[in-house]
Symmetry: C2
Subunit: 202 residues, 2 copies
């Protein structure tokens, strides 16, 4: 094994592992949707996927990770989008634009998104973990907002408050959005963000 091919090879392997994980998650999600998150054991998922229970836990650290692990990647993309917004735009609007990443994702796969939302909303522990993943996004998001606000120490708490309030808007918009019925998640997000739009945001 050489240092050169180590980095290359491992990234290839990671891609493959991610693809397998996505496939496992898709299978599991259908089961969760049908029998409830707690009504499906890991043994059941593993055999439905044709792998051993032990191998399953090499793809997902916990059963809940099947549902929420994808959220971490969204966080990075949302932060990227916010960072790409015009620097003179008010931060509240920039945050709102960041969540267009999620709107696009829901539009791209409405059935999958609806299924995931059904499963999460039906299970208390999953709701909590979803929120926790959102909070993890703040690690990347808050510094960017603080930078725009002037980065002074006094602005740190203000930036955190804005970022976490935007999570609240997202969660409320998601809660008020019924995939089949409502027109778009985008409109709900706009309504929530308008309700909170702060007086001064720069």
């Amino acid at each position: 094994m050489q240092a050169q091919s180590a980095g290359f090879g491992s990234s290839l392997r990671k891609i493959k592992a991610d693809a397998v994980a996505a496939s496992l998650a898709a299978t599991a999600l259908i089961l969760f949707d049908k029998k409830g998150f707690d009504g499906v054991t890991v043994d059941e998922i593993a055999s439905a996927c044709g792998i051993s229970r032990r191998s399953f836990f090499r793809y997902f650290a916990t059963k809940e990770d099947i549902v929420v692990s994808g959220h971490a990647a969204f966080g990075e993309r949302i932060t990227e989008r916010v960072r790409a917004q015009p620097q003179d735009e008010d931060v509240w609007t920039s945050l709102r634009r960041g969540y267009d990443i999620l709107v696009d994702n829901v539009d791209r796969d409405p059935e999958g998104a609806a299924r995931t939302m059904r499963v999460i909303n039906a299970t208390a522990s999953l709701r909590a973990h979803t929120i926790e993943k959102h909070i993890a996004w703040a690690v990347g998001l808050a510094p960017e907002i603080a930078r725009r606000l002037g980065d002074a120490d006094a602005r740190r708490l203000e930036a955190d408050a804005l970022v976490h309030a935007s999570f609240a808007c997202l969660d409320v918009a998601l809660a008020h959005f019924t995939p089949g019925e409502d027109a778009s998640l985008s409109a709900k997000l706009d309504a929530a963000f308008d309700a909170l739009r702060p007086v001064r945001t720069r």
Copy 2:
């Protein structure tokens, strides 16, 4: 057994059970603070409290409930306080005043509050469950805010956004508050609420 004494007797028993639970929680919290939440087994807690493991689970449904079960009661008291605020006060201020319940509690027992906060902040799953408890407060809080806003259907989402954003402010204030060091939680709450104060809240 008569219907009369049934209600009376059962409330007495509940009071006793609550007192026992509080005592168990106090013992467990000290252990958690010392060895970490995951470093303490339920067996350990039970024997430290002088009861059996099985009896322990009659006082707390889950190990996490030891830390977060008290939060439900706070929710009711916060809602009560908000409801008692002047009806013509803007709702954002009313929400802020609701959290004075928590400020008072921290002031009343600084060491206990600090210990609980240490334990929660050191454990991801506890953070998630704390957030979830906060969200449960919305069940009582949101209708009150919606009523003040006019109760129209269009105001429902607005009320939810305000309530959940206030949770965000609380969580940020708690995260920025170091019990020994900082002057008061109240000031942090004010700063967070001021950062978000909406343009129009009635």
